[in-house]
């Protein structure tokens, strides 16, 4: 490896020897192409014409009124595929193509990354396999259908809690046997070096755009930028543009699931400790011997026991602040925000909105908050319906 992929004490490349050559090859290709004129032009065209970049920064009028301060929404939900995941998939997919790879594999939780990879697999004519836990296949079935329609094979994963972590285990195992012709298109700013760096780079368009849009639209930088944190890609994508703007507070929102004190959550930054899993040193949910703990979150995309190494460093350095909101608050805000704005937020992104809502009455009226709406919630309608059945009568409100 040319670089060590460290973020302070976090990060690194803790993988079996067999994967080192493949990761080295990706690192090498990334640094060869990411500023290459043709690569940049190709990616830029795909961002604009295929994905729908730039995404708007939208002033949420009614939601702002409700919370009592100014809320701007970075509309990653409007991207093709319905989430920020496409930014990374176009970047890595194009890299795979430049490297001459013909096959893609990926893990997925919510199915958004699996879907984005499947789209790019179709677009680039590459054979695509998506590893997905059986629990997630069940709760995100709409995305499973879409992946298959794009021509991808969806490989069900049984082990552990049959969620995102287990899908990554299986994708890594498959990769070790197929390293020569297969590109592992990793879905978040986590995992072994060079993925945290590569994914951050391909997601940094979110922050670059948002920052410029703030200056243009509001005439100043926001007071707070917030995003949900699973592996951490949408958050790092928007945060990174504001690192040097010391007055801009960065808030990452983790899933508290049933509550941090119940242990049934997926909030390693809030309630974990440093450890090593999936190739990186990071805050991790683990028992005292280092066995990885089961996680729980209503949102499949955040249901992971670890978190990207750069977030771990941002937490320790204090540059970003991390908080957590529970499933109930997420279900509440899904309803509130949709009724306010007519925009269905993904359950993942709803975590960021729920934290914003919790600041009602705490922030001054002139406070400006930018929320990264990482994805749209169409995929989650079934889950929400299950937990909060809608009243069947359409017009009964008399109060």
């Amino acid at each position: 490896m040319k670089y060590d992929g460290r973020f302070g004490q976090f990060g690194g490349c803790y993988v079996p020897e067999v994967l080192i050559p493949a990761l080295e090859e990706i690192e090498q290709a990334f640094y060869k192409y990411y500023k290459d004129e043709n690569f940049v032009a190709d990616l830029d065209a795909l961002y604009r014409e295929y994905a729908g970049r730039p995404t708007p920064l939208y002033y949420a009028t009614r939601f702002s009124k409700l919370v009592g301060f100014k809320v701007y929404i970075k509309r990653e939900d409007l991207l093709h595929g319905g989430a920020h995941k496409v930014n990374n998939c176009l970047g890595q997919g194009l890299l795979a193509k430049y490297m001459g790879k013909t096959k893609l594999i990926a893990e997925t939780g919510a199915g958004q990354h699996g879907l984005a990879t499947s789209m790019i697999g179709a677009l680039l004519g590459m054979e695509t396999k998506i590893f997905m836990g059986t629990v997630d296949i069940e709760r995100q079935s709409v995305n499973v259908h879409k992946m298959k329609l794009c021509g991808a094979e969806v490989v069900p994963v049984e082990g552990g809690t049959a969620t995102l972590k287990d899908a990554i285990n299986e994708a890594l195992r498959y990769w070790t046997a197929n390293v020569t012709d297969t590109f592992y298109l990793f879905g978040t700013a986590c995992g072994p070096h060079p993925y945290p760096t590569v994914v951050k780079y391909f997601q940094s368009c979110i922050g670059t755009e948002a920052r410029a849009q703030c200056l243009e639209k509001i005439g100043k930088l926001p007071d707070i930028v917030t995003a949900c944190v699973g592996g951490g890609s949408n958050a790092i994508g928007i945060f990174s543009a504001f690192y040097n703007d010391k007055d801009v507070k960065l808030v990452g929102v983790e899933p508290a699931g049933k509550g941090l004190d119940t242990g049934k959550h997926a909030a390693p930054l809030m309630a974990g400790s440093p450890g090593i899993l999936h190739g990186t040193r990071m805050y991790l949910m683990q028992d005292e011997e280092g066995q990885i703990l089961d996680t729980e979150s209503i949102s499949a995309g955040l249901d992971y026991p670890g978190v990207g190494p750069e977030h771990c460093l941002l937490k320790d350095s204090g540059r970003a602040e991390y908080v957590a909101v529970d499933d109930e608050a997420v279900l509440d805000i899904f309803d509130i925000f949709t009724k306010c704005e007519g925009i269905l937020p993904a359950l993942e992104s709803s975590h960021a909105l729920a934290w914003v809502y919790s600041q009602k009455g705490k922030l001054p009226a002139d406070a400006t908050v930018v929320v990264n709406l990482s994805g749209r919630g169409d995929k989650d309608v079934g889950i929400v319906e299950k937990h909060r059945p809608t009243r069947t009568k359409t017009q009964t409100n008399t109060d």
Binding site: Y14, N169, R173, A177, I276
Partner: protein, 265 residues
């Protein structure tokens, strides 16, 4: 305490190295199985401590990890297990495990405590030579030998670097992939053995996919100094879960066959 070096020097043939997950299917049965394996002719033992997320392992060893953890295996008991084996016979023991368990225990303390229990080396599946600094000195300080992996896709300069850091043996992965029994040996393994033998005098022990006496013989003929058999043996335990008291004899029978084949090779 017997060193790897002594075993390799004494043997006129390839060493037979069975792998077990400690505490599979439970502590006591596991102990009986490993003792039976020793009696049947194991020259060195490779033992795993179960981990929740074993990314280098196929289904057979994953299931063994689940069984061991389900039966209450933990680090303290693993240490106790090793002491008990050493009290039964002074045979070199290599641990094969995942980094987080070592890291949480405290790397230096882990190495020291397990060296004291009778361990000869600790191979960490998810730590490559690039991060050898995190374990090399602590291991030497604890008096452990060091073992790292090479794989068929490791380029020669790197393999040389790896060999230089190995004092016990080089764990030579026969194929591209995870652990698991295979019908035939990978065609990548013989060129790999030849390549390694031309680089180093450190014993070359081959594992992953080795499942039959014939495989062991082929590897020995190709120049391997040791053959590591994991999933095939763990599978025998799995097949005898309904009658686990039979497992030691069944495992011993298989190990006896491999031993016989290696002796005649």
């Amino acid at each position: 305490m017997k060193k790897y070096k002594e075993v390799f020097n004494e043997l006129k043939r390839a060493a037979l190295i069975p792998f077990f997950v400690i505490g599979d299917p439970d502590f006591d049965t596991s102990l009986e199985i490993v003792k039976a394996a020793i009696d049947a002719g194991a020259d060195i033992l490779e033992l795993g401590i179960a981990f929740s997320d074993p990314i280098a392992d196929g289904p057979t060893i994953q299931k063994a990890d689940v069984r061991a953890m389900g039966a209450g295996m933990d680090i303290g008991k693993a240490k106790d297990f090793i002491s008990k084996i050493k009290a039964y016979k002074d045979i070199p023991i290599g641990l094969l495990m995942y980094y987080n368990l070592v890291y949480q225990y405290g790397t230096e303390k882990f190495f020291a405590d397990f060296a004291k229990a009778g361990t000869n080396s600790v191979l960490i599946a998810d730590l490559s030579i690039d991060d050898a600094d995190e374990v090399y000195e602590p291991a030497r300080k604890a008096g452990l030998d060091t073992v790292f992996m090479v794989t068929p896709n490791t380029e020669t300069q790197r393999a040389k670097r790896i060999a230089e850091k190995c004092s016990g043996f080089i764990y030579t992965v026969s194929l591209l992939g995870v652990t698991g029994g295979r019908e035939t040996l990978s065609d990548m393994v013989k060129p790999l053995i030849t390549r390694l033998k031309s680089l180093t005098d450190v014993p070359v022990c081959v594992g992953f996919g080795v499942s039959k006496p014939e495989h062991a013989v082929d590897l020995a003929k190709a120049g391997a100094d040791g053959v590591i058999i994991g999933s095939k043996i763990v599978k025998i335990i799995e097949e005898n879960l309904d009658n686990k008291q039979n497992a030691p004899a069944k495992v011993a029978e298989f190990i006896g066959q491999v031993k016989q084949a290696l002796k005649q090779a």
